[in-house]
Symmetry: C2
Subunit: 538 residues, 2 copies
């Protein structure tokens, strides 16, 4: 595939006229061909208008048609073969096996949403039948289902160039629900974005989808993103990235004349609670698992454990020593971009000089300074105590990269205080024995109000794509704690209920017709059933 460096505006291509930029190989620091060009405002306008027009058609496609489209996207991505993986590796420095797994996850996700909309019950179809004899007024026939919102803007993330990017979970769920998608490509992997974007366009052609069902916009800066969030025809936004960028766009969405749903997955320190029984029984083993989780993908996961809580005392020593040793022995990582590298090194610098923090690994700050080149960065382990942590809320901020903070507590109540004071998080993990779980039931009750996902004897990295997954959490982990960006529940972000009262059967959407032609689950007079309504009204 020949990369051209211009945006994809419906079925056409943009012009090579906007501000130019290059992808950079994080390992070498060298720019990668070709030159990329920011979309113009006119191109953006055209893409949005095409999306708005496409909505009228695309929203009326059947679940079967959308399933075929999603599956074709997966097939086309797989057909890109090694050329895609090589480009992603060049743009991100992520190792090929990780990228193979991420591609598999991306395609699995597209097929999972295809299965969901083909089966069709996801629309939450509800029917309450009429009762003309009811007193004092007759009861009408009322039926409702979920419908798509309209054009959705999706922001590609730097750290998952496939699974949270052009054809990632946001795009898959928005398309599955019947919404056209406008992706703002992440400038760190434009070549990857263009390849995947063209795979989507080919699938749109193959499946006779309307022009505008998908567009891909490049931008070196933030103008295009802001213009998407504030455009009157854009009806919802999905974003994955930093808290600062997420909050800025969230404020734009809220201050529109017509505020729209805005889903940002922003930041999380994913606390790990290592309870006393588990610490005694298998401290070193947990240290090895934690090390793997903190350094996975060079620590550039939104679910990376950033705070680890353990009880002070003899039982903690083997754990701490093992973890410090593993981190001290780790050669430097190559982070995704020079910007992420610089921010990470600055955060390490600050934290290593923090008055209440000790640097446990590497052994000296001079090792940290030795990393101060481009994308290269050492893993780091810091330590503080619970009382200091409680009075320094800055220690609860995410450091994006392979660093984590041990917090030791001497009193159970401090642990609970930390949980109570915690900001909203994507996850919290508990390592414990079954006795620990009973003894810390109060901790779990607090955490249930703070996080989207609670993990027992495991680590938060590696988010399973399935029906039950919740990859979300109270603000500021996300902008909207009612939602998840992973798993089939993610489709509900881009829908709203529409109700039909006393409509003739023929004029109803298929999902609500008496005969239940799609054979879906429906709530009929308060009971879930896949049966058609019969003529007797029973």
């Amino acid at each position: 595939m020949k990369l051209t460096g211009v945006s994809i505006i419906g079925f056409r291509r943009g012009a090579p006229t906007g501000t130019s930029f290059f992808a950079v190989n994080p390992t070498t620091g060298e720019p990668l061909e070709p030159t990329y060009y920011s979309a113009s405002r006119a191109e953006l306008e055209e893409a949005v208008q095409l999306a708005a027009r496409a909505f009228a058609t695309y929203a009326q496609t059947s679940g079967h048609q959308r399933a075929a489209f999603l599956r074709q996207i997966a097939i086309n991505i797989e057909a890109l073969g090694d050329a895609l993986l090589e480009r992603v590796a060049q743009e991100t420095a992520l190792p090929i096996p990780r990228l193979q797994a991420e591609r598999a996850r991306t395609c699995f996700q597209l097929r999972l949403f295809a299965d969901l909309v083909e089966e069709g019950s996801w629309v939450d179809a509800r029917i309450d039948r009429a009762d003309p004899t009811r007193q004092p007024v007759p009861k009408p026939d009322v039926r409702s289902l979920l419908r798509p919102l309209g054009p959705v803007a999706v922001f590609g993330a730097s750290n998952f160039p496939l699974a949270f990017s052009v054809a990632g979970g946001d795009t898959a769920s928005a398309l599955a629900a019947g919404n056209p998608v406008l992706v703002k490509a992440h400038p760190a992997h434009p070549g990857t974005s263009e390849m995947v974007g063209l795979a989507i366009i080919e699938a749109a052609h193959a499946c006779s989808m309307p022009e505008g069902v998908f567009s891909l916009l490049f931008d070196a800066g933030t103008d295009i993103g802001r213009a998407l969030v504030t455009h009157p025809e854009v009806r919802a936004v999905a974003f994955t990235g930093s808290r600062a960028a997420g909050l800025a766009l969230m404020a734009e969405a809220a201050s529109r004349p017509d505020p729209i749903p805005f889903y940002a997955e922003m930041s999380s320190v994913n606390p790990i609670f290592i309870l006393p029984g588990a610490l005694r029984e298998r401290g070193e083993q947990i240290a090895m698992g934690l090390y793997a989780s903190v350094t996975l993908g060079a620590g550039q996961f939104c679910t990376k454990p950033g705070v680890v809580l353990i009880e002070e005392g003899a039982a903690s020593s083997p754990f701490i020593e093992k973890l410090a040793e593993l981190i001290a022995q780790t050669p430097p990582f190559t982070l995704l971009t020079a910007g992420i590298g610089a921010t990470y090194r600055r955060a390490l610098e600050e934290r290593s000089h923090h008055p209440v923090v000790t640097l446990l690994a590497p052994r000296s700050t001079s090792a940290l300074e030795a990393t101060s080149l481009g994308c290269s960065a050492y893993a780091a382990l810091f330590q503080t105590d619970a009382q200091s942590y409680l009075v320094h809320p800055d220690l609860g901020q995410e450091i994006f990269g392979p660093a984590t903070l041990l917090v030791t507590y001497s009193r159970r109540e401090h642990l609970l205080d930390i949980a109570r004071a915690m900001e909203g998080q994507l996850t919290a993990s508990l390592h414990g024995t079954e006795d620990d779980l009973l003894a810390f039931r109060d901790l779990i009750a607090i955490l249930e109000t703070k996080v989207g996902r609670l993990i027992f004897n495991g680590f938060p990295t590696g988010v399973e794509v399935c029906h039950a997954m919740v990859h979300g959490g109270p603000f500021p982990a996300t902008s909207d704690g009612r939602s998840t960006s992973v798993g089939t529940r993610a489709i509900y972000r881009f829908t709203r209920p529409v109700c039909y009262q006393n409509f003739p059967n023929a004029a109803l959407p298929d999902e609500l017709k008496d005969e239940n032609p799609l054979g879906i689950w429906r709530l009929v007079d308060g009971r879930w059933t896949r049966e058609p309504l019969n003529a007797t009204g029973e």
Copy 2:
């Protein structure tokens, strides 16, 4: 029951020290005893802290326990008997039969949510089972369900003193989901609010609910409402009222350091499309139905039809004449408050002098001026044409009270243009033959993107409380078009999903335990079932 005039702060009462106010009988203009006192900031703080503490206990109550509580509230409201209805009638000038129906609806609603949470399947329980043999990594056990958010602030509405007020749909759905509720009473019916609030407190005592599960705050002004929306412990807000008030509070919720879900049902003109076939067949009959809908409750319904679209020509004359005649013959109404009366009369005054609008009934503007006393107001019928309507967006604004605007069109395309230009609405109604429905399929497709509920051959007033109802709609009909404030789907407003990964069975919520002790519907490995998980993993 002796009314005391002070707020209800958990299980105690506030002090008679804040700014005082009276309910006013709209018919006589006389103040009603007793004096009411605005809650102090200290009282508000105490109520919110009690709610935050109650949440820990209340969120853990079972569906059975919450069902008993909701049913006891209904029983206690019914036990207030005629004394309640008389007080409501004094405070609102609404006729007793209407209030009997509204009380029945309110109690039905409480019992419907009781049934919902007792049955229990509403929590959307999902289970994806582990697969330790999966390659390249084992699949974890992932389970999730919906959990309550925390203390919810509810604003009582003036126009439904029972069904959208202290124990109305917002309170019922928030309590059903497991959230404590803080109601800000509408100052136009404080006696009604106090009586119903005490009925809730008695139910809380009888059902051993924690103190703080409910509080009721009075305020002559807007301070308490704003303080609730911005309080850190308040986790969601439900509001029904004017667009101006709704937008102001919506902005407060969005500009919090931690924005929270804010559900406002604001304004809607509920357009009525009378299609050509129906106009010819039964124009006069539709005129009578429309008249009843426009004047129901003195036009003070959020679903009152405010814009009526009909084709110009001979067929329209009998319809227009009938409607104008009915409205011209109508004696003046007593509106809810002098404020509503003054706003309504000012709106009629403006509209009757609008350059593109004709007043059809009453026959002269002098009749309108004759109503300019207190709460008294005449019904009014205005007319304009489609092209004028399209260039005067002010004509699309709601007039709260018994007035409506006929818009005649000569070209089908103008009708579609009006639908396309329309703001988000709660409802749209189509009067037509089955042929009309086919001929105006494009109109229906537009309306599906604009409204929460589409009604065929009926009127939007009278919102059925049922599972399939959608009383919501795109902004600015509501602040959040993904929600409904009526019907069992309303419970989802006050929930978020929480996920448990690899948890021991005993530590899971009952809804997610292997044996399915509650017998609820669950999505197990993508299939809906009420069966327990069996030991073989099948």
